[in-house]
Symmetry: C2
């Protein structure tokens, strides 16, 4: 029986290692620099045992300033929605003070993610207002660990592209895959619903 | 410039009207009772000006006990991910203390949502561990308000059904549509990214 006068709340915070990894005040200039941050987040999430092997980062496209990072937090925070990309979107929304990174007056934003987004994260990409998505490892790489990506089809990507979102695939794929392999070798939890 | 020693946090709470609407200690026995709660949440969200015209509720299938509700909170909480279904999943995860509503020892859970889920929410449905989804208004009804649903295709539903999730469509569709119409008549904000 649930008390009538109580209800749950959700609190999402970064693990305490974030500020040791992210250079908030130094621009990340190249595509590889930006992807390396997303992959570094995924790797530290595994090494520090704070979640699954997936990391993301959102940048201002022009300045290279990092606006937010995200790391898979499903198990740490008991929340099925907290894939790395989702945490990055939520934190970026807080940072800019708007539900859309495409709000008037804001610079263009882009998402880097260490692995191809699942169906949920691809949908959220559309609502987030980023104009560009860059991913590292591919769906097949995650599937080797039995991580599912859900109902994503070629038409799903076309749907985003038709709305002006650029998709860039397999940047530093081997470095991103290496983190998936690290997780597998540590017998990390596979937490599909 | 962002201070190196600060980072954002996300807090998600219900608006204060929730406990006046939800009967936490009384079972919702029929499919219509359960859908009426999801629709009532969507309607109150519009009437109290706390968000878009979308509501959801998660029940234990056998007992009819409501585990969590969710209401669109995108604008209220400046968070592009907070569709009604997402809030319901997150709150249900907190309530049961697990990232999956399908964890060992838990009863079966089902999602009721006042409108057909978007691509993000359909993906999250898969990760949530619910075994059944019941929706009210259809994608076309939301499109009339220029709310987008994203890349959802017939194969998307088939993907979920192949994994044992039952989909039930258009339950109390007219009652659910009436809330969309109410929102339109009040010139409510359309907050696609």
């Amino acid at each position: 029986m649930i008390a009538t006068n109580s209800h749950p709340e959700v609190h999402i915070e970064y693990p305490d290692w974030v500020n040791s990894l992210v250079k908030w005040d130094i621009p990340y200039n190249t595509q590889e620099d930006r992807m390396r941050l997303a992959i570094a987040v995924s790797r530290m999430n595994v090494e520090k045992d704070t979640g699954g092997p997936f990391g993301a980062a959102i940048f201002e496209s022009e300045t290279g300033r990092v606006v937010a990072v995200g790391m898979n937090s499903v198990v740490r925070l008991s929340n099925c929605t907290l894939h790395g990309e989702m945490v990055a979107f939520m934190m970026a929304n807080q940072r800019v003070g708007s539900f859309s990174l495409n709000s008037p007056g804001l610079p263009k934003h882009e998402l880097y993610t260490s692995c191809e987004p699942c169906a949920m994260c691809l949908g959220a990409t559309l609502w987030s207002g980023v104009h560009r998505v860059v991913y590292g490892a591919a769906r097949e790489d995650a599937s080797l660990l039995k991580f599912e990506e859900g109902p994503v089809f070629p038409e799903s990507y076309k749907y985003l592209e038709d709305r002006g979102i650029t998709i860039v695939r397999n940047v530093l794929r081997e470095e991103a895959r290496a983190v998936l392999e690290l997780y597998r070798s540590r017998s990390g939890k596979i937490y599909n619903g």
